[in-house]
């Protein structure tokens, strides 16, 4: 029983990593209606920028804010420069462009900062909390940061005019334009915000998985799984989805003999697919109605 509790706690702690990146994925999805395969690499790139600033002697929290702002600009820039021209192309062309972006950012980061693994500082300390030490101070801090971002997103979409405009632009671009919303700038704004959230996720994750150009490949897959499980259009769902993925993965690794350790991610995915078969819109998603 105690082992079970410990494993669940440890699972929640890893799940926070996935929840962070799942939030960024959901943000992009809300703004542009696509899954962005380059999300992880954008977050990685932002984290490298933060690392560079810290190397230059900038204090952590100033770096933190500066990175968020720079990432916002970067996200807007990518939308304006790379995605604007193909904005009417079919979905699969978008996917190909995302894959292209992924390759570019990954290779560029490796070129600028090389592929060696770098440690990244944490503002929360690394002391182990609680008996058994399954959860560290950094992980608790990370959960707190994730919840703050979640609350911010909720308030943004629920209470601000611009949040409402962004939802309108994503839900029905034509009608949104008719009521005077600048739909294309809403998209750019969405990209910027997603990029900022990705930067926060990257800076939170980097102390645990260490900083290198490929750090996000694995995490992004888990983040997708979490976001889809949560329902893709719900920030709260993304966080819950991410946590659930972490817990299932940890439990499968501990309690299923022989294949559990080798196949833990697979088992997590199979569980998710099973859940989706029951609830095809994800845990927190609403069914999409089609007009015939």
């Amino acid at each position: 029983m105690e082992l079970l509790l410990q494993q669940i706690l440890a699972g929640l702690a890893t799940g926070t990593i996935y929840a962070c990146i799942a939030l960024a994925i959901v943000m992009t999805y809300l703004a542009i209606g696509h899954l962005n395969f380059a999300q992880g690499e954008m977050a990685m790139f932002s984290t490298f920028v933060a690392w560079q600033l810290i190397q230059w002697g900038v204090p952590y929290w100033i770096t933190f804010l500066a990175t968020i702002s720079l990432s916002f600009l970067g996200g807007v820039l990518i939308e304006r420069v790379v995605l604007r021209p193909i904005h009417n192309a079919p979905v699969l062309s978008h996917v190909a462009v995302f894959i292209g972006l992924l390759a570019i950012l990954n290779s560029l980061a490796g070129f600028i900062w090389n592929f060696s693994v770098k440690p990244f500082p944490t503002p929360f300390g690394t002391a182990a909390l609680g008996e058994g030490g399954f959860v560290s101070a950094h992980q608790v801090g990370m959960i707190a940061v994730t919840l703050v971002v979640l609350a911010f997103l909720y308030a943004f979409f629920r209470f601000t005019r611009i949040g409402l405009a962004m939802r309108a632009a994503a839900a029905d671009p034509v009608s949104a334009r008719l009521v005077g919303i600048r739909v294309d700038w809403m998209m750019a704004l969405g990209w910027g915000m997603a990029s900022s959230i990705g930067a926060i996720a990257g800076m939170m994750i980097a102390p645990i998985v260490f900083l290198e150009p490929n750090m996000m490949l694995g995490v992004l897959l888990y983040g997708f799984a979490g976001a889809v499980l949560g329902g893709l259009a719900s920030p709260l769902g993304a966080v819950c989805g991410g946590l659930i993925v972490g817990v299932i993965e940890n439990l499968a690794g501990t309690f299923i003999p022989v294949i559990g350790g080798e196949l833990k991610f697979t088992i997590a995915l199979v569980v998710i697919v099973a859940v989706l078969l029951m609830k095809p819109q994800g845990l927190f998603g609403r069914p999409v109605l089609h007009r015939v």
Partner: protein, 342 residues
Amino acid sequence: MSLPSDETLEAVPQPAVAGRMSPSLLVRSGFGLSALAVALILPLLTPSFLTFQLTLVLVYAIAIMGLNLLTGFNGQFSLGHSAFYAIGAYTAAILMDKASLPYALTLPAAGVTCFIFGFLFGLPALRLEGVYLALATFALAVATPQILKLSPLEYWTGGVQGIVIDKPDAPFGLPLNQDQWLYYFTLLVAVAMTIVATNLVASRTGRSMMAIRDNPTAARSMGINIALYKSLTFGVSALYTGVAGALGAIVVQFVAPDSFTFFLSISLLVGLVVGGVGWIPGAFFGGAFVLFVPNFAESLSKGLSGAVYGVMIILLIYVMPSGAAGLARMAGRLRHARGDRS
């Protein structure tokens, strides 16, 4: 042999009956035959390694064709085709390694195995759409290399080490070296499968597939059994990719779990988009792109090869947003316009 009429692409102006031998069909089959002629002569002129690479282009083209049947013609998204490719490759490798089956017979075996897997996977996938289906197929892609590495299966799969296969010699004393023979063998399979795909898409079944893609509700109300057609399409698509996998295994002479990761799925997807979604000959452009362009990028700059590859993908999408298919369509339209004036 004729190239597929792209009735699917030319929306309204040309209804399905474009006449048995309309001029545009003649031109198209002319293109197809000249492409085939070039393909037949090429390996006699190129060095061995290039022949090997051209063979791989054909292999990828078959796999991309399979993905195109599913995504382009039936509207189902898949990130899991590396799994079917792997199943095909391993079926061929295990049959040759353990049962000493001749290589040519492993292709139908791989095809049938993959058809069954694909059909069965298509059943639960019926409930999922769009990104949710993408996630399910993605799970398949991630799981496959891990399952192939599992210790209980090691006797069959060779675990992480994989299986090494012998390269077949040219039969009947043909004056070809092994690479050339494999090229012609693959070309034969590729041409046959292109013809089958073309006819399938032009048939009643193909129209049902496209009707489901365009509007499932309308398709259902016309009496199309959506569940059956979707699962069957999944099966056929897996069959194509599986045969490609088997050919790939024979050509590379080696299978190992890490050759069949998620990134293979991504490459196939890039190939599909580059070649043109919903245009069968596009698969050959796509195959050539995913094989040659990364190598070319590497030759330009070692450190930034990924960036060069990425930039090339993006530029290509800018220039032709719907892949090589769009380009072909544009050429067709220009020809039509000129024909009208004269």
